[in-house]
Amino acid sequence: MGIEQDHNVVQELRYFGRVTASISHELKNVLAILNENAGLLQDLCAMVNQGQPLDVTRVQKLSTTMQKQIGRGDKIIKRMNRFAHSVDHDCESVNLHELVTIVVALFERIATTRGITIEVMTGTSGVTVKTNPFALEALVGTMLDRLTAEAPAITRHSIDVSSHNTMGQIRLQGLVKQVHTVARVLDSDDLKALLGALHAKTDFRQETGELFIMLPDNITA
């Protein structure tokens, strides 16, 4: 295995690890809420057994909260499942809007902790490219992670996709104040290796704070 391939494997595994750690953390929070609500139900039952009246409104509220958290957990697991299956094929047709949406959703917890908001814009939803889905998720996710690691709190970014000539294009906006960070991130060896594996290019426009990732419509062509 060459050095460049080594970089890719390590980078992709690191990304996989970061995402699964973040998902497990979020699921732990769901379990913690369910645990407290179930515990409070037990407390209320114990109080009824001691002759105190049952607060039906409180019980209904607890039930609503528990259903809401089960829905939240279900969404997290669906996302995780989708992410897990992105390693199934080395090359397949990928809808860029769907891929970006899932990467941003997986990154949401980390972004919130950093006080960062990333909004996926509607853009052009029908852009597809034939590429390595997991390597592309690792590229976009790692870029988001590094670009927002030093961003000032309460920063808003937006991301959208489009097509330009025969290339698929992912655009991240809101980087005007992070010119040096962008330069450093784009200069890192592991990201360069991922870009190379995807035959992708980047273009950073300092004056507008836009970063473009340009992908060939077919990586095998």
Partner: protein, 124 residues
């Protein structure tokens, strides 16, 4: 003996509010807030024996908050709560937390009560 006064800090409101309610049922005077910033406001007009802090919170982490609260209230004791999967993860993520008391979520209320007594007994 005076009741224990506890401040709970966690950005998961539905978790922290219910935990506070359960502690109140057990005779603990528990207040809760959902951010480090609110915690720093809260201690301006209230006194607490103990703060129970989530480690990962937006803007200011539980570890940083502990440092800030300790500056204002040197006698306040601390317990961390973490959503990390294991003790190893927690220690790896926070070098300062090695000597601190902590619980891994989901938190069992009896364990929390036990830890609270342990922390406060140590200081008495």
């Amino acid at each position: 003996m005076n009741a224990i006064r506890v401040l709970l800090v966690d950005d998961e409101k539905e978790f922290v509010s219910t935990l506070a309610e359960r502690l109140l049922l057990r005779g603990i005077e528990a207040d809760w807030v959902a951010s480090a910033e609110e915690a720093l406001e809260k201690i301006k007009d209230s006194q607490y024996d103990l703060a129970v802090l989530d480690v990962k919170m937006p803007h200011i982490s539980g570890i940083e908050l502990k440092r800030m609260l300790h500056e204002h209230c040197p006698d306040m004791q601390f317990i961390f709560m973490t959503g990390h999967g294991s003790e190893q993860d927690f220690h790896a993520g926070s070098s300062e937390a090695g000597a601190a008391y902590y619980l891994v979520k989901p938190v069992h209320i009896d364990d929390l009560m036990l830890k609270m007594n342990e922390v406060l007994d140590r200081e008495r």
